[in-house]
């Protein structure tokens, strides 16, 4: 079906162009309008990384706030598709809840009705192209500016200009077309008309990928008397059904939460359309009653269609909002959260690399996922159990008692649980930072990538020392066993401290506390070297054992420092001023050297 769609569309267009010059103008008007929408989206994307994300993050509080955000942002951006994409992206990254996402999507459906008002109330009443020309001229000057925000403003202005120009050409086209063809010949009445024109509206929206464009086309055709008011209403209902295709397409690359939101969107639009079709007479009566009340002329069908579009969407929201909790339960049942697979990236989806704020959050969560896997593998690589380490008051005694070698193919587990995640993180970081994103976000993403690399290095170091650490600790071998146990204990203490940081309340947590670990690790390293020399002199270990141990202790201290570095980056304050304070107060290597030597 898909392979035939493009030739069919092209054939219909070419035939239309050949038959009528006015059809060319209408088609060009639609094309210019859609191009304007793309420019608006590009323009608003340049503003992401700031205000847009901060606003969206604050809409998680209540359904009213989410609805308000959906209405406001869609009114402002004139694109419910962009608002849907942003919402799916934020939901996939875990920045907002499903309930907030649903609220935003409901609000976007009301916000999109402002487009109909804009066209019916303004676009058809004035010579809209006279506004478009200066807007386009000013826009092009701004588009060539270096400042990202000025360029964004330029694209938004150009987008608006093209929207106006598109409306103008559609309006002109339909007015001239009226003189040659009378499309009202194809008007249908009754239930058949309702069904046929609803399907036509849905198909037009699927083809144009925009219910907004369908609505503008319908309103301009209605104003030119080329379609009947009754059929225009069915087309508007059809546009709402057709737009669900955009939501489904947008969710294909999203995670389970994004797919739940897309399904919510589909359910909302289908329920709203069904209610409108069933109660069409009552809604039309309400439209007439309201239009009379606010002074809309009886024959002004374009404005009446805008009233219908608004009532129809507000009614949908009024029906669905009280059912939100039930809807969420249904969505959670219909699209269950997949069983967590620790070897697969959980947060780095294509949906989460759409906006700087979601990129950073998704990256941070995935790096933590990798760190958790690395900590587990390091503990198991040393034949230790994390739950025992986290519960004990005496790490050394617990480590000494953990002699039983664990059944573990460390190379295979490393490939499956660490390397795959690390590859996904590197790929995501490269893709994300190759885009035009704020420098501070790019720096954060690079720092997080380096933290992931440090975790990987730590695991590799443990891989190197696992065989000797197992051989020398499973049964007591005297001094060399004590040496290996002390190394295992030092690593275990770092794992315990990382766990404490994880568990501590954010208002008490500081990456600066990792300087304490750096200092004690350095102190332990010095003490270990002294002990090895003494044991070798006393003959309690032989030269072979000493060299093996010194090699392994090199790996162990490398692993400890890498673990500390990975945790430091992860827990470093992200808020500007606080981050600066932590950066200034963090101890340098020479401070660590001096403090570890003292006393």
């Amino acid at each position: 079906m898909k392979k035939y769609l493009l030739p069919i569309i092209l054939l219909v267009l070419m035939t239309g162009f050949w038959v009528s010059r006015d059809f060319q103008e209408i088609a060009a008007g639609v094309a210019i309008f859609l191009f304007g929408m793309l420019m608006l989206e590009d323009g608003f994307r340049l503003f992401s990384g700031g205000l847009l994300e901060r606003m969206l993050e604050r809409t998680t509080g209540s359904i009213t706030k989410s609805l308000g955000f959906g209405i406001l942002s869609t009114t402002l951006m004139q694109s419910s598709s962009l608002v849907s994409v942003i919402t799916i992206s934020f939901l996939s990254a875990g920045l907002i809840t499903l309930a907030a996402g649903i609220g935003i999507i409901f609000g976007a459906n009301i916000g999109t009705t402002t487009g109909a008002w804009l066209v019916a109330g303004f676009g058809l009443k004035v010579n809209i192209s006279s506004y478009a020309m200066p807007m386009l001229a000013l826009a092009i000057v701004l588009v060539f500016q270096r400042s990202k925000y000025l360029r964004g403003l330029g694209f938004v202005l150009a987008g608006m200009g093209f929207l106006f120009l598109g409306i103008h050409h559609m309006k002109e086209g339909f007015e001239s077309f009226r003189d040659q063809f009378d499309l009202t010949r194809f008007a249908m009445t009754g239930v058949l008309g309702l069904v046929v024109y609803t399907l036509v509206g849905a198909t037009a929206t699927v083809v144009m990928q925009s219910s907004h464009a369908t609505m503008v086309l319908v309103i301009t055709a209605l104003a030119a008397g080329q379609i009947s008011y009754e059929n225009a209403i069915a087309l508007a209902i059809g546009a709402n059904i057709g737009t669900t295709i955009t939501a489904i397409l947008g969710s294909l690359t999203a995670n389970f939460q994004g797919r739940r939101l897309a399904l919510a969107h589909v359910i909302f639009n289908l329920v709203t359309a069904a209610v409108a079709l069933i109660f069409i007479k009552q809604i039309v009566w309400t439209v007439d009653w309201i239009s009379d009340g606010v002074g809309i002329a009886d024959e002004d069908f374009a404005l009446k269609l805008a009233v219908f579009h608004t009532i129809f969407n507000v009614l949908g929201v009024a029906i669905m909002v009280p059912l939100t909790n039930r809807l969420i339960r249904f969505l959670e049942h219909a699209i269950p959260e997949p069983e967590p697979d620790v070897s697969k990236p959980r947060y780095l989806s294509q949906a989460s690399d759409q906006f700087p704020a979601t990129m950073e959050v998704a990256m941070r969560k995935e790096v933590k996922h990798l760190q958790d896997n690395a900590v587990e593998l390091i503990a198991h690589g040393l034949n230790l159990h994390r739950h025992e380490l986290y519960a004990t008051n005496d790490v050394a005694a617990t480590v000494e008692a953990s002699r039983e070698p664990l059944e573990l193919d460390i190379d295979e587990t490393y490939e499956a649980r660490v390397k795959t995640l690390y590859s996904a993180i590197v790929e995501f970081a490269t893709r994300a930072t190759s885009r035009d994103i704020p420098t501070e976000v790019a720096d954060q993403i690079h720092a997080l990538r380096d933290a992931a690399q440090a975790s990987v290095r730590a695991v590799k170091a443990i891989k190197h020392m696992r065989r000797n650490a197992t051989d020398f600790t499973k049964v007591p071998h005297g001094a060399i066993t004590r040496l290996y146990n002390s190394l295992r204990s030092e690593i275990a203490r770092i794992l315990v401290e990382m766990h404490k940081l994880d568990e501590s309340a954010p208002e008490l947590r500081s990456s600066l506390s990792l300087d304490e670990e750096r200092t004690t690790v350095e102190q332990a390293r010095k003490a270990t070297t002294r002990t090895v020399e003494e044991l070798l002199l006393d003959g309690r270990i032989n030269a072979n054992e000493a060299t093996s141990f010194l090699n392994d202790s090199g790996y162990a201290y490398q692993a400890m420092n890498d673990l500390i570095e990975a945790a430091r980056v992860y827990y470093l304050e992200t808020e500007g001023g606080m981050a600066e304070v932590e950066r200034i107060l963090a101890l340098e290597d020479e401070d660590i050297e001096e403090l570890s030597s003292a006393g």
Partner: protein, 82 residues
């Protein structure tokens, strides 16, 4: 101790601030960090009181020295900001 590096970091921060490449440090930022460090110092002191093994006491004393040093520097930074 590495006071020279510490002062260098403050100078570097001020340069970046002038070039608008750094966020301004407010008094409240430093005070918040000091509160976190003091809470950590209290926790370490409490652990030290209950520690029995000499090796554990040594480690806790080293950690205390580190946090004392950080509090001293943070207090000095607070005076400079104020």
């Amino acid at each position: 101790m590495g006071i020279k590096k510490f002062v260098e970091k403050i100078n570097d921060y001020q340069q970046r601030l002038e070039q608008k490449k750094a966020k301004k440090i407010k008094k409240s930022h430093v005070e918040k960090v000091i509160r976190k460090l003091e809470a950590k110092r209290d926790a370490l002191k409490s652990d030290l009181k209950s520690a029995e093994k000499p090796s554990k006491k040594d480690r806790l004393e080293t950690k205390l020295k580190v946090v004392d040093e950080q509090i001293e520097r943070a207090t000095w930074l607070l005076e400079q900001i104020g």
